[in-house]
């Protein structure tokens, strides 16, 4: 065995041992997505789920215990799709934010992103529950890419640890955080002053927040 071969074997052994010492627990957040009971605004909305949003992974390495790797992307998109498809008469998926030269054939564009994700275990808080929070930012653009509004949304979820494994409890808390975030988006959209003004100016709603039939 020459020096090169020996160093290769040693490297393989080192990384195998390292992997064994720092076990990562993946959680691909899953759950059902109910249809919202909300008004449909009669507009065609473009929605952008960029690559960062579609492949978002949250990793946490505690001082002791298992590493956590939470993958909320699939449920995020499922929930937001369900909410947007009920909120707007037509929804069209776009690849990127439009520009003046690359105008989108929609009335407005929503670009959601995840700013923060975090969770706390009973060990962190001394409480009897796991909790998760997700902070989205929703940017809304005109069809030519001018920013109409940008607002943060925080979703929070909690799951009592009783009878659940840490993995299941964290999945449940993350699922509830995404659900809470989606519920807040559905309710708060029309309450954002800049969006409300844009909807009134466009003749989609009146000043009493009632839909104008079109």
């Amino acid at each position: 065995m020459n020096v090169k071969q020996a160093s290769t074997y040693l490297s393989i052994m080192f990384f195998t041992l390292l992997g064994a010492c720092s076990k990562s627990v993946p959680i691909s957040v899953s759950g059902t997505t109910p249809e919202p009971l909300i008004n449909t605004i009669p507009i065609t909305m473009g929605v952008i789920y960029d690559d960062e949003f579609k492949s978002y992974v949250f990793k946490q390495t505690p001082e002791e215990g298992s590493k956590w790797r939470i993958e909320p992307a699939d449920l995020n998109i499922e929930f937001l799709d369900r909410v947007f498809n009920t909120m707007f008469r037509h929804v069209s998926t776009l690849d990127e934010v439009p520009t003046k030269t690359n105008r989108a054939n929609v009335q407005a564009v929503l670009h959601p992103s995840i700013e923060e994700f975090g969770f706390l275990t009973p060990k962190d808080t001394g409480l009897n529950s796991y909790s998760a929070s997700i902070k989205y930012r929703i940017d809304m653009f005109t069809p030519t890419g001018e920013l109409i509004a940008s607002w943060p949304i925080i979703g929070y979820g909690k799951s009592i640890k009783k009878g659940l494994s840490a993995k299941k409890a964290l999945n449940e808390a993350s699922r509830l955080a995404i659900r809470d975030g989606a519920a807040t988006i559905a309710i708060d959209f029309q309450k954002q002053t800049l969006i409300r003004n844009w909807l009134i100016d466009g003749g989609f709603i009146n000043t009493r927040n009632e839909l104008v039939s079109q």
Binding site: P34, L37, S129
Partner: protein, 223 residues
């Protein structure tokens, strides 16, 4: 004949074991009625646990226990499962959006589609369950050891649990509070180590569920 003796013996042993393994539980239940109640043949009820993102909230297992008790026994009631109701009403019954009073319920019912969805399920009453079960005190000590010649436990450990819950009954048809029922159940559990560990567990949560469900049923059918 031999078989019947065997079953009789087993039954006595089982009863003795149950009596031994169950600790003492005391329940106090109070009811306040504000309006009369009645339930129609097709009317349904929803049992919802009040969640407020704090550590102290009605456990899902407790609300499920109430649901099971209401659909069984004498005068079974028709329920819409909580998860189904919350999904169908999404997002209006999510923890931070759920109505906290009948005034906010009345505002919610005016929103498009909400009263129609409630009518579709024939929901007459929403029962909000608030409260929790917690350990209020504990003490004693128990040690167990095992060696080549055998093993055993010695000592006595105990803990006291309190299950406090309140059910607030909302009449959705008339948009008012029909009344409330509260239960306070306390119990002391022991594990005595006399070579073998002998547990005497006071199941306060189960006792609170039983008494609250029984009272709730008679409240709604106005017995």
């Amino acid at each position: 004949m031999r078989t019947s003796y065997f079953y009789c013996y087993r039954l006595i042993l089982l009863s003795l074991a149950t009596a031994l393994l169950t600790g003492c539980v005391s329940t106090n239940i109070e009811q306040a009625r504000q309006t009369s109640t009645q339930i129609g043949e097709h009317d349904t009820i929803v049992i919802l646990g009040r969640t407020d993102h704090t550590d102290k909230e009605a456990e899902k297992s407790f609300t499920r226990c109430i649901e099971r008790s209401l659909v069984g026994g004498q005068h079974p009631l028709q329920l819409v499962p909580a998860d189904q109701f919350i999904d169908e009403m999404f997002p209006w019954f999510e923890p931070r959006l759920a109505p906290t009073s009948t005034v906010s319920l009345s505002k919610l019912l005016a929103k498009p589609g909400v009263s129609e969805q409630i009518a579709k399920n024939n929901v007459h009453y929403i029962v909000w369950i608030d409260g929790n079960t917690e350990t209020t005190d504990q003490g004693g000590g128990l040690s167990c050891a095992i060696g080549p010649g055998g093993g055993g436990c010695l000592g006595l450990t105990w803990w006291e649990r309190e299950s406090s819950y309140e059910a607030s009954i909302w009449d959705v048809e008339n948009v008012n509070v029909a009344g409330s029922i509260s239960t306070d159940t306390t119990g002391k559990s022991y594990i005595a180590g006399v070579i073998l560990p002998i547990p005497l567990i006071a199941r306060t949560s189960a006792a609170a569920c039983r008494s609250l469900a029984q009272q709730l049923k008679s409240f709604i059918i106005d017995e």
